[in-house]
């Protein structure tokens, strides 16, 4: 776990003595693998922007609490990832907020990200700029994302259809708010033959982690805009559905066939 600059040490996913923070020697990477596979863990990409990284960590931690309280998923503490160095294969879902400090990716990182997506992983890119993009305008996060995904195998995307499994993975949802609301959410065109139809890329703009983030006292760290308890609840529900989607794939979509299959049984 040597991937965090000292200034960002508090975004370490789990406590470690400083002397263990050395180059990724085999024991260290094994320890990382062990910790990452013990429980299901949500992961986020470290951007180098301390404030954003801390928001991501707190957001995924808050979402984890909601999951543990309401569902049978009981995730471990969130993991901050250096996409240039850390093994990505352990994580079903990686949250990646866009910041203006986002550095371009190395070829190696691009290859690792492509492998991750091909093997069934999902990345949620959050441009966090829904509040900044006017009608027809393009926000700064979106511009950053456009630069970032050069060289990544991004599939053809569509806006989440009304019957998408993400609208029914746990809660029934019709909107996907975060700190902002109204931003559009894009997914890969579902194809059940590949990775159970799970989109390898999800793109939103609503600054989701900020809506999920809770501080040490359990209180929300940011107010939601325009702001209502309902909006924050729906933001959490979206988070729950998102994680369910990443873990159970198309499960809820084919449950509509279960009655039919059960009906056929024994005939």
């Amino acid at each position: 776990m040597s991937f965090v600059a000292s200034s960002a040490k508090r975004s370490l996913a789990w406590a470690q003595p400083d002397d263990a923070v050395v180059a990724s020697s085999p024991p260290a990477s094994d320890r990382f693998a062990l910790e990452a596979t013990k429980d299901t863990r949500l992961a986020y990409v470290l951007t180098g922007d301390t404030k954003v990284d801390e928001t991501s960590r707190a957001g995924l931690a808050g979402l984890g609490q909601i999951l543990a309280r309401r569902t049978s998923i009981e995730p471990g503490a969130p993991v901050g990832l250096d996409v240039e160095r850390d093994e990505l294969a352990f994580f079903p879902l990686i949250y990646w907020p866009m910041t203006d400090r986002q550095a371009p990716l190395s070829d190696r990182a691009r290859a690792r990200l492509n492998d991750f997506m091909r093997n069934g992983g999902t990345i949620l890119f959050d441009t966090r700029d829904q509040n900044l993009s006017g009608i027809g305008g393009v926000g700064p996060g979106t511009q950053t994302l456009r630069g970032l995904v050069q060289g990544l195998d991004i599939p053809a995307l569509i806006e989440v259809p009304a019957d998408h499994v993400m609208t029914k993975a746990f809660y029934l949802l019709h909107q996907f708010p975060g700190r902002w609301e109204g931003g559009r959410l894009f997914v890969q065109k579902p194809d059940e033959r590949v990775n159970d139809g799970v989109s390898s890329v999800i793109i939103g703009a609503n600054d989701f982690a900020a809506a999920w983030a809770i501080d040490n006292t359990g209180r929300p760290m940011f107010s939601v805009v325009p702001g209502s308890a309902r909006q924050r609840e729906l933001a959490f529900r979206f988070g729950v559905n998102l994680v369910m989607y990443a873990l159970t794939g198309n499960y809820k979509a084919d449950q509509v066939h279960v009655d039919e299959i059960l009906e056929r049984l024994g005939q």
Partner: protein, 712 residues
């Protein structure tokens, strides 16, 4: 032998000779009729003679002498050595008739006998030619092939020594043009009775668990026909079978239960009738390919986890599987008051699944399932019954196996082969296939396993292992420190697998290059569902051409040879060669159609060589009905060895009758080959007809005589 003839070989062109003859003729005529006294002129006769002699010399007559060698007449005997010719004393009759013809031929001058046996004796068979296993008697094909090599002007006739059951009679017998008689010398007895069993309709395949309808028919000549006959049906070489009564002379349908996938060999036999030529056609072998209906797999995931989609990807991609998947998304204790209409949750239909429909599932997978009150214990007891009566259960254990929540603390303990010790090891290790596993079809030769037995597979590491003490079953994969990782077991009629780690998903996600998760889980699931291809202890015999390929799967090397018993009861011992992956293989050449039984002392197998209803045995009564028209068209005759004895064989000049009474007589006493008298020219000599000196004196003498006569 020689023949001679005279040819003209003029020294000058014929035109000039003609001109000279005309000129000479005119001079002679002038000599005869010129207006002069004393006509005709004296000596004109001599001059005519002299002129003629000169012309004759110039025309140069020669004698040509041809040396000729007489050619033998060729007689052909086609001997039917098909399986129906082994019935009764037909073989003896055949050999006697053949040697009689051969002896006769040896006593003839200018006669050559060619003998074609069908099928050719094994040692004379060409590798590309028809094998001895070809069904049916193809005498005309052999006849045609032999005739290609016989010049028509030497073909003296053909004799077919057969029981008359020919299966390649030309469509248009009247158009047969052989330039010689085709005689039939028939073995066997006319009007012999024989009972036979025919498969009228064989469905060929059926869905496992259902029945297929097979139609058979027992035929017997009406004179001796019984009303019913006992048919015994045995499957896969079993010593005993069930017996049914079937009516004789009509089609009769029976239902066979297809109780497993893959090939089932059914052997049907009917007892001897009042008259029997052979019992070979009282049996029939039917193979029914069991096709499995879509397999119903119930996957119950205890909670959403990263490995869940590995199962889903595998089972949803498998076209033969209908997946019913339930995940406990929310345990009963986590109620948060969200209105139901905002939730996408349904109640776990456990009564439906584990009581009403339980027995319709082919496999139940508990994927990181933990006991938490969701599933009342009565349903777990149902699962025990389900397994014992033939169901399949797979438990993939995750970290939740605390003594309090383990499925082992339920009724399922009686069917699970491994008892969790409570130790969960979280350390890197490579899931390895152990020595037994390298011979088990579920884990043998997995991609990347490494060839040598002590090779470590090049698969990505796992980080969790749930320790268990194996109580029964076979451990095929090892975790850290050689602790069991995958245990397979048979319980009652059913099967159980226990995977003592949940980390196979790391292979699916490509960690450290991943591993053969799809192949392993697919084989595991299908082994549990009794896929015959994955049986770890079995003997199989596959017929390819005229070879039986024998494969034995066994978990421990077995030196026992395989004893193969052929259709006529003779045995062959085949020693198998170990391949090192649980298979031992061997081959055996076969040259008879019928059922071969294989036995290595503990395993048996059956192979049916040849077609289901061999045409060769469809009707084995000897007959002249097929060959009599052939004899009639070609001028031959029909002889029944059993009625007139071996025929007297003769040679006759062309145009004479070739058989005793022609083809009409029921059994001809004598048969004849034609004399063709063909010969070949071996040399030609040519010599002048009139020696030059003789001519010279003749011409000179004639001129002199003419001159003297004239001078008088």
């Amino acid at each position: 032998m020689s023949a001679s003839s005279i040819i003209w070989n003029p020294l000058l062109p014929v035109d000039i000779l003609i001109a000279m003859a005309v000129l000479g003729g005119l001079v002679m005529l002038a000599g005869c009729f010129a207006p002069r006294p004393g006509l005709p002129a004296p000596g004109v006769v001599w001059r005519i003679a002299a002129t003629a002699a000169v012309l004759c010399a110039l025309a140069n007559p020669s004698i040509v002498i041809e040396d000729r060698t007489p050619l033998t007449d060729i007689g052909l005997v086609v001997v039917d050595r098909s399986q129906s010719q082994t019935i009764g004393d037909r073989r003896v009759q055949t050999n006697a008739a053949l040697s009689q013809v051969a002896d006769w031929a040896a006593s003839q001058t200018n006669f050559e006998l060619r003998v074609v046996e069908l099928p050719a004796p094994a040692d004379a068979r060409s590798p590309t030619g028809p094998s001895g296993l070809r069904d049916g008697t193809h005498l005309f094909e052999a006849l045609d092939r032999a005739l290609i090599d016989i010049p028509r002007d030497r073909f003296a006739g053909a004799m077919l020594i057969t029981d008359g059951r020919v299966h390649d009679l030309p469509d248009n017998v009247a158009a047969l043009d052989t330039d010689g008689p085709v005689h039939a010398v028939l073995t066997g007895a006319r009007d012999a009775g024989d009972r036979k069993l025919t498969i009228v309709e064989n469905p060929g395949f059926g869905i496992v668990g259902q029945t297929v309808r097979l139609t058979l028919r027992i035929d017997e000549p009406s004179a001796v026909r019984a009303r019913q006959a006992q048919v015994t049906i045995r499957r896969d070489g079993a010593a005993d079978g069930r017996t049914i009564l079937a009516p004789v002379g009509v089609n009769h349908s029976i239902d066979l239960v297809v109780d497993r996938g893959g090939t089932s060999v059914f052997e049907l036999s009917v007892g001897p009738g009042r008259e029997e030529l052979t019992q070979a056609n009282n049996r029939a072998v039917v193979t029914v390919n069991g096709i499995r209906d879509r397999l119903r797999v119930l996957l119950v995931s205890g909670a959403p986890h990263p490995g869940e989609r590995t199962w889903r990807n595998l089972l949803k991609a498998d076209p033969s599987v209908d997946l019913v998947h339930f995940t406990i998304l929310r345990p009963p204790e986590k109620q948060d008051g969200t209105p139901v209409r905002e939730l996408s949750l349904i109640a776990f239909p456990y009564r439906e699944l584990f009581e009403v429909k339980l027995n319709d599932f082919d496999l139940i997978i508990f994927d990181r399932y933990r006991r938490m009150g969701v599933l009342p214990s009565i349903y777990l007891r149902n699962i025990v019954n389900y397994v014992e009566s033939g169901g399949a259960l797979l438990e993939a254990t995750g970290p939740e196996v605390t003594p309090a929540t383990s499925l082992y603390r339920t009724a399922l303990a009686s069917v699970l082969p491994g008892e969790p010790t409570g130790t969960v090891t979280e350390a890197p290790y490579i899931a390895d296939v152990n020595e037994t596993g390298r011979r088990h079809p579920v884990t043998a030769a997995l991609p990347g396993i490494g060839l040598a037995e002590d090779d470590t597979p090049d698969w990505g590491r796992w980080f969790r292992h749930v320790d268990a003490r194996p109580k029964s079953g076979t451990v095929v994969m090892d975790g850290p420190d050689g602790r069991p990782l995958l245990i397979l077991d048979r319980v009652g009629e059913g099967r159980v697998g226990q995977f003592l780690s949940d980390h196979i998903w790391l292979w699916a996600r490509g960690f450290e290059g991943g591993g053969p998760h799809n192949e392993l889980l697919r084989r595991l699931a299908h082994w549990l569902m009794k896929e015959p291809e994955l049986e770890e202890d079995r003997l199989t015999a596959t017929v390819r051409g005229d070879t039986i390929e024998i494969v034995r799967h066994s978990l421990a090397p077995d030196p026992a040879p395989v004893v193969v018993t052929g259709p006529t009861g003779e045995t062959t011992t085949v020693t198998l060669e170990e391949l090192g992956d649980g298979r031992a293989v061997g081959n055996m050449a076969v040259d008879e159609t019928g059922i071969y039984r294989l036995d290595d002392g503990s395993r048996t197998a059956v192979a049916g060589v040849g077609t289901i209803n061999p045409v060769e045995f469809a009707d084995v009564t000897a007959t002249d009905a097929l060959l009599r028209p052939v004899a009639a068209v070609t001028g031959g005759g029909v002889n029944w060895l059993s009625e007139s004895g071996p025929p007297d064989i003769r040679r006759v000049r062309p145009g004479r009758g070739l058989a005793d009474g022609g083809a009409q007589k029921p059994s001809a006493g004598w048969l004849a080959f034609q004399r063709k008298g063909a010969s070949a020219v071996t040399g030609v000599r040519e010599m002048p007809f009139l020696p030059a000196l003789v001519l010279l004196f003749a011409i000179g003498g004639l001129l002199l005589a003419a001159w003297r006569r004239e001078g008088k």
